[in-house]
């Protein structure tokens, strides 16, 4: 069994262990309603995590994800008020808005050669600021605005409790898993994250991969924003608040290597579901918010440390020694 599969089994084991603990110690965990709500809450973080996974695996980071979600929320709400616009078009417009934000990040990073950390940190503020400027106002003052486009709002509906955002998340997770593990784009992304210099020498077009990664991340943020706005029937200025950190946490906890080169969509999804379970469980025990933050941080530290030890154990003896300036074979890159 490959180290990736072992790591995934560990993630699944953790989810099952946590679920068993909650089931045995509380009476409100193993109910249809609770599981479906958990999936819905995970889907919001999970969709953003799918995009974030792509960026992280490619050796980058996107700290503007929360800002993109916020701006896309406003774009989505505004699009929904266009007379006669169908709901699916509102969703597509929002996805495009997110992708445009990602394109901006990608172009700045690749063409101006600025650090991804600094670029996306700054652009996150820019997107949040734009959201505040463009939000609904009366007499210059922001006001809550209830959406009235029923075709669009129906995207927030559910089938007997199974929300559409959950269906979208699961379907896109499968698609992303295929993209990351079965396509040349996925292979190149992993190669770039694993060893940028070697990937470049192997002919990987860094700029294209980076821009595509950021655009995909932005598009996922847009989709997440649209689905949440459809459920809430309104957007808020706090939409997406701290979501970049939750998405990064989900990726790390799921087993995606934070320095890039290793991970997949399923890892991001498992991480998002696990972190939502942690929060939900702490609420069931009635623990204070301070304890939530403590546990959240502790889980991340433990999992990063675990992954470092795990990689040392599983990959340590199998790394091929390369000569100076010799690129790794692409077949060695393990998504």
């Amino acid at each position: 069994m490959s180290s990736t599969n072992i790591r995934r089994c560990i993630s699944i084991g953790l989810v099952i262990a946590l679920g068993l603990t909650y089931t045995l110690t509380t009476d409100s965990f193993l109910t249809t309603f609770n599981i479906l709500q958990l999936l819905k809450d995970s889907a919001y973080t999970g969709l953003i995590s799918l995009g974030m996974a792509l960026v992280i695996i490619g050796g980058g980071i996107d700290l503007s994800a929360g800002g993109i979600v916020c701006l896309c929320g406003v774009a989505c709400a505004r699009a929904s008020f266009i007379p006669g616009v169908p709901g699916i078009a509102v969703i597509l417009i929002t996805i495009l808005a997110g992708a445009a934000c990602g394109l901006f990040n990608g172009l700045v990073v690749t063409k101006l050669h600025l650090s991804e950390f600094v670029t996306t940190l700054a652009s996150g503020f820019v997107f949040s600021g734009l959201a505040l400027i463009t939000t609904f106002k009366t007499d210059g003052r922001p006001v809550p605005m209830k959406l009235t486009n029923l075709d669009f709002i129906s995207f927030g509906y559910n089938y007997s409790g199974l929300y559409k955002i959950t269906i979208v998340w699961i379907a896109l997770a499968v698609l992303m898993q295929v993209v990351l593990t079965r396509t040349r784009f996925g292979l190149y992304t992993c190669a770039l994250g694993a060893n940028e210099k070697s990937a470049l020498m192997s002919g990987v077009k860094k700029d294209r991969i980076k821009i595509a990664g950021f655009m995909a991340c932005g598009a996922f943020c847009g989709l997440a924003a649209a689905m949440v706005v459809a459920f809430q029937t309104a957007t808020t200025q706090t939409l997406g608040n701290m979501m970049e950190f939750q998405a990064i946490s989900a990726c790390v906890v799921g087993g995606i290597v934070i320095t890039g080169g290793k991970g997949d969509a399923l890892a991001a999804c498992l991480g998002a579901f696990f972190m939502t379970m942690v929060t939900s469980g702490l609420l069931k025990y009635g623990l204070s918010t301070g304890v939530h933050y403590l546990m959240y941080g502790a889980v991340i530290v433990i999992m990063i440390n675990f992954d470092a030890q795990f990689s040392r154990l599983t990959d340590g003896g199998r790394v091929r020694k390369t000569k100076k300036n010799e690129p790794p074979r692409l077949s060695e890159v393990q998504p």
Partner: protein, 355 residues
Amino acid sequence: MRKKKLAVLGVAIIMTMAMILTGCGGSSDPAGSSDTGNSDSGSIQLTGKDISKETVKIAYIPMSMQGQTNELAKIAVKDVQATYPNLEIQYMEAERDAAKQNQLIAECIAQDFDAIIMEATDGEAVGPSIEQAEKAGIPVITSNVGSSALHTLHIENSSYQSGEVAAKAIIDRLGGKGNVILLDVPAEIKSVSLFGTGFEDYIAANSEIEIIGTENIPGFSQEEANTKMRALLTANKGTKIDAVFGVADEVALGAIDAINSEGRSGDGILVWGSDCIPLGIKAIKDGKLTGTNFPDQYGSVKTALNMALYFVETGVNSVSAGYETTPSIVRPFAPVDKDNVNAVEAQSHWLDIGN
């Protein structure tokens, strides 16, 4: 061939998703009439609970658990628990985020809470969750910031009215003329927290006072208010400033810090706050703060708790009682200055928590 297979798979996933989402894959219910695991939508027959014998679980979800006024809520809870020892309260942190508050309401439904007392982070965005809770038989009481969604009761210490009270106090002291600075709520909650809006509207309608500078203060922080106020003082160096309204006492105290550090303490600038927290009370007694607004948070929470217990005991909520609009109770803000600060302090219950 492999490329073709992948493309077909991708297209299949997207097509299936689009069909399901646009309604071809089956019927859909609005959020709110979904299966909650313990109810059918629309026709619930609620029965009350014997609150003297059975445990009553109530969730308290303000916009944020930060801030001293939540301490008063805890005192109110203790006092009500002295009468109803079966009452259990769970405090939940919404972090001023509607998505988070929606998650918390869903958790309350999952845990079958008996009632929810909450301050809506956004009146519209949490509406579907409030409706869902009401349909699951849980009475929802909103406090301060309500929701357009139909629910059992709204109790309001109106932030808009607080702005009006501060404006009136400043107009009275300035004789209706002068230059004023407004240090308003954080930008991201300006749409639901209307201190500044009430202040601006009242000033415009009832005086010739000009608001020469406005800033949003992140996190209602004293340090942020200090920084922003210093910038406003620098920008208005040659202009006479007569008064400042800080939408929270910490904000007003930050303004006082800035006035002192910029050497403008001799200008006689009046500073008015809101919330009447211990720091504000002390500053009024020391002659630093001109006045503040007293919202009686203790009284509001106690009223909300007692009403929640009544709803739990009788089984009444907006669905079971067939409400068409949400009933509301509006509680007034009172102006506080050096003349009545001691009396208000005694009434405020701050002394009960040793401040």
